[in-house]
Point group: C2
Chain length 271, copies 2
């Protein structure tokens, strides 16, 4: 099966970059996969058969026809600032960063290559290439900020669900669907930390609702820094809703509040 | 193995009542288990071997030495108002209601029998006796509002973790550990319902965080009605925390907020 690309460079061979490599291989990609990462990560990625070989960024960029940036957001932005000089004309550069407007802005300097922003809505608790999984993207949304037929075909082959959104719309929606849940989980965890006696009566609900609170701030620092306004707007909307809940605690309207909450919950499970 | 009790009446043979019957049987209880429930439920419970037979409440109460009330909260309160006339002196009456102060108050009329409030922190999505599971209580907290050695031994034999709390302290803590997570999930679901475009970029985090939003309001109506003040206080604490998160979005202090949130999340997983 031809994937249209012959040489893929994965920059940042962690959970996402490593999983993308395994996923395209499983989907029939026969070309070469070059890893660009720290020596320790490259050693593990080679051992695990995730990549074929490794090169410094400039060399990988000059040989690849698809460059997949799977680093933390600020490193993606830094890479975009230097990579264009090394790529062959027409090379496709894409990324897997969790916010898109700041990255798209940084990508405006790409002239020899062409850039399309991406965000696979996939993940799991474990980080690093050790957790890489060929099926990580299966049935998950994968946002692209522009049409790119060859890469869209690749996304479909790895089993992800393509969603086309502008960078700005992505950031607004992801603040509601991903960043707000994170902040609620962190806030709940923090309230429980202040009330440790409550932990002794915590059941499965509290465990579920604090799973995201385990997320590493290393990742969230960049997300927050590059999507502050939308996260704040999502928090304002949710705080307003919680104030409504408070006002309705004794009212029959509470039943409608539960019904509205269940509506999205059910829609998410129909997916 | 003697469990100290010879005849157990389960009033309300749903998920919790049915699971309690299966759990004590699995733990070696050799006595009789009488179910008190609607005809349809009794038929299913007999088919599934959850109970040995069925009687009207007054007859079951007069024959049992342990009466386990596993109805919705308001029905438990109603049952407590009428049952005492039927029990033999010294019969232990306990319940599995999700709030304890209102039930304890209603139990003050118990004079022939003796009452101890209980709350097993267990559950699952499915309701009804069809979901009954002998291991439902395993490793879950089980609150009692007073010491009751024979029943404490039973709780330990079914694998639950005994927690002794006054009814008031239970209600305050459970508002933080259980009712607040429910309200956050419902509020998040409701915000997402108002922003349906966000659903297309929702990942596993949003799915987890809206699971509780699927809860039936039929159960929550009574919980809210009998624990309004503590739920409101928990909501106030969490809204305050979310306002802090908003203020810290651009600050280094956000890292501490994440650390505080993760602390309780990790503690819940050590359990």
């Amino acid at each position: 099966m031809s994937h249209g690309f012959k040489t893929v460079a994965i920059v940042g061979v962690g959970l996402i970059g490593g999983s993308f490599a395994l996923a395209i291989r499983k989907a029939g990609f026969k070309g070469r996969i070059i890893g660009v990462s720290s020596p320790a990560t490259i050693r593990k990625a080679l051992e695990l058969g995730v990549i074929d070989d490794s090169l410094p960024l400039a060399d990988a960029a000059s040989q690849a026809d698809l460059i997949y940036l799977a680093q933390p957001i600020q490193q993606i932005i830094a890479t975009l600032g230097s990579i264009d000089a090394h790529v062959r004309p027409g090379t496709l550069i894409t990324d897997a960063g969790s916010t898109k407007a700041a990255i798209s802005k940084a990508a405006s300097v790409i002239k020899r290559g062409r850039f399309v922003g991406g965000h696979p809505m996939a993940g799991k608790e474990s980080r690093g290439v050790e957790g890489a999984d060929a099926d990580l993207f299966r049935d998950c949304p994968y946002v692209l900020t522009a049409r790119e037929p060859l890469f869209e075909a690749m996304i479909e082959r790895i089993g992800a669900r393509l969603v086309l959104l502008s960078a700005e719309e992505h950031d607004r929606l992801i603040a509601l669907a991903s960043h707000l849940p994170q902040m609620l989980s962190t806030a709940l965890g923090s309230v429980l930390t202040d009330n440790p006696a409550a932990l002794q009566v915590a059941g499965p609900g509290a465990v579920d609702m604090t799973r995201l609170a385990l997320s590493s701030y290393d990742i969230w620092r960049d997300i927050i820094a590059t999507n502050r306004e939308s996260i704040d707007a999502a928090l304002v909307a949710c705080i307003e809703r919680l104030q409504q809940v408070r006002a309705q605690l004794a009212e029959p309207a509470m039943e409608q509040a539960f019904a509205r909450g269940a509506e999205a919950a059910r829609a998410l499970r129909k997916g």
